[in-house]
């Protein structure tokens, strides 16, 4: 069965790039433009993996992760955040908030798919 992935990023081009790479790898992809929208989408349907940016308007990725981990139905859903190499402090905060892993920018499609397979186990 195809794994479904929710990508949360305020940049449409990043969302498009994520969608192309993940769709080519056989995943089903849904998109959200910020953390609040991501939570709404996650409430509406179940996802196997959530990939989120951290700096976003309306609700940032960190708050979204914290909110999701408080929702019983989102407990255990892998959440991978996008970060830069210099963001070590933010990485630690996101891990403490309940993130599963991270993907360092810039990344190529192979890295993205490899990380998705790693956390999904398929």
């Amino acid at each position: 069965m195809t794994a479904s992935i929710l990508t949360v990023d305020d940049s449409p081009s990043i969302r498009v790039a994520l969608k192309i790479a993940l769709t080519n790898a056989g995943y089903s992809v849904a998109e959200a433009g910020n953390g609040a929208e991501g939570i709404e989408k996650a409430k509406a349907s179940a996802f196997d993996l959530i990939i989120t940016d951290l700096n976003m308007p309306v609700m940032d990725g960190l708050t979204m992760i914290e909110e999701m981990r408080r929702m019983p139905e989102q407990m255990g859903v892998p959440i991978v955040f996008l970060t830069t190499e210099s963001d070590e402090g933010m990485k630690a905060r996101a891990k403490a908030a309940g993130a599963t892993g991270w993907l360092t920018k810039p990344f190529d499609p192979d890295q993205l798919v490899r990380i998705a397979r790693k956390v999904l186990g398929r």
């Binding site: 790039a17 309940g98 599963t100 810039p106 956390v119």
Partner: protein
């Protein structure tokens, strides 16, 4: 891909190519500068990745070779010689052509540049260009995960699968930290793992498996004898704390069998349990007769629950659940029964069904002067139906193209015989289920009153 997205990519790629060029020019002056090497590698890596993402496959493919060459420089395998840097500089100009004119024919020029690059790498590498021999190494890996691993989306099965991808792995679950049932928080993680891995991969590859949880977990990676195969180290004392109670492992168990066992050991199976699954080929045990009563295949094989735990309280709960589920199943079977004898006397049932059977039987007979169908039947039974539409109903067994079974094997006739027999067995007050009989279930035989 929209034109707007491609335009954004091209702007980004031009900036990237300029950075690569600047880095390469600086490297000609300072070939030992590791930061410059890293910066050039990152630029090539990004260009390759984004090119592939935006459909510039020729650019991505060509850049991949340069990236690979520079990866060797980055790892210190080859030096950043003038020839090598010059070859990448020339390749950088070709990358720009591939980016600006992706549909052009640049194949021949690219091949020449790649040949130059390959020669430069070979010269920089010298004798070290030979393919290094694969060295197999045995590793003892012990790890446990933080208690909140499940909550945060970490899947131990995925980690174990990644380890198995590295080589032959013998995985043993340490269940000593699993508390009694009443104290278990189902969202917490209590298991630890002891893995013997025989692989040609190094320590960094093993550490990469745990990259997301390494800061929060206990991980020990120990190199064992390089020549030892996993089978020979199974007998070795596991790397476990003295107070831990590792699950015993049989010394004769071949590691390959365990490594390829699709049933993961992460469900706290014992080593013994895994051996049974992998080696003995045992079939699921079903002693409660539920399959016979229900006529359905059991949903899942009954697990060997009792061997997994010596906890008598857990065993008692398990048996109670089993007993209750058996009663529930029996109750459901009773609910499926529709009393017939109480609604209709047995003779009435028979008199209702018998004419219908006779009518159907007579309508099934071919007419004397109607030709028989010669079409092949789809189910193997001979076609007895007349081709005359006047005598052929359009539903049921005699639909066009569907062959009729012998009358004695048709469901209605079958049910009639069963009902008839049930009526003989039953007293007027006994309940007999027409629905269940029609479904093929034998009514419980009752003694005559």
């Amino acid at each position: 891909m929209s034109e707007e997205a491609i335009a954004v990519f091209q702007i980004e790629a031009r900036e990237n190519l300029e950075l690569i060029e600047q880095g390469l020019l600086d490297l000609l002056e300072r070939p030992e500068d590791r930061d410059l090497v890293d910066a050039v590698f990152r630029g090539l890596h990004t260009l390759k990745g984004s090119g592939s993402m935006f459909g510039f496959d020729a650019l991505a493919g060509f850049t991949h070779h340069c990236e690979t060459a520079f990866d060797r420089v980055r790892k210190g395998e080859v030096a950043a010689t003038t020839d090598l840097v010059s070859a990448v500089l020339a390749a950088r100009d070709h990358m720009r052509c591939l980016m600006e004119d992706p549909s052009g024919d640049h194949g021949a020029a690219g091949d020449v540049l790649l040949a130059d690059l390959e020669r430069a790498v070979r010269e920089a590498d010298g004798a070290a260009c030979a393919v290094p021999a694969v060295v197999m190494q045995t590793w003892r890996i012990r790890f446990d995960l933080p208690a909140n691993a499940f909550k945060n989306g970490t899947n131990p099965q995925a980690l174990l699968a990644e380890i198995r991808d590295l080589g032959e792995a013998l995985v043993i679950a340490d269940t000593s930290r699993v508390p009694p049932l009443a104290q278990i928080d189902p969202t917490d993680h209590y298991l630890a793992w002891d893995v013997t891995l025989h692989s040609d991969q190094g320590r960094s590859a093993i550490e990469d498996v745990f990259i997301f949880v390494m800061d929060d977990m206990n991980l020990s990676i120990e190199a064992l004898d390089e020549t030892a195969a996993p089978e020979t180290v199974v007998d070795a004392t596991p790397v476990l704390p003295a107070e831990a109670a590792p699950v015993p492992v049989a010394p004769v168990q071949p590691a390959q069998t365990v490594a390829n066992d699709p049933i993961d050991s992460s469900a706290a199976k014992t080593g013994q349990g895994r051996r049974e699954r992998a080696g003995s080929g045992r079939t699921p045990r079903r002693t409660d007769g539920s399959r016979r009563r229900t006529g359905h295949r059991p949903v899942a094989p009954e697990p060997d629950r009792h061997s997994a735990s010596s906890d008598t309280a857990l065993r008692s709960v398990s048996e109670e659940i089993e007993r209750l589920s058996g009663e529930l199943r029996d109750t459901m079977m009773v609910l499926r029964m529709v009393p017939v004898a109480t609604c209709f006397p047995a003779s009435a049932v028979w008199s209702t069904i018998w004419p219908a059977r006779r009518a159907r039987s007579s309508s099934c007979r071919p007419t004397a002067n109607a030709p028989r169908s010669t079409r092949p039947s789809s189910n193997g039974w001979p076609i007895h139906w007349s081709t005359s539409s006047a005598t052929r109903p359009t539903t049921g067994w005699n639909r066009p193209g569907i062959a009729s079974p012998p009358a004695s094997r048709r469901p209605a006739a079958f049910a009639c015989r069963r009902i008839s027999r049930a009526a003989r067995w039953s007293s007027p007050s006994a309940t007999t289920a027409a629905v269940s009989i029609a479904n093929g279930f034998a009514p419980r035989r009752r003694p005559r009153v």
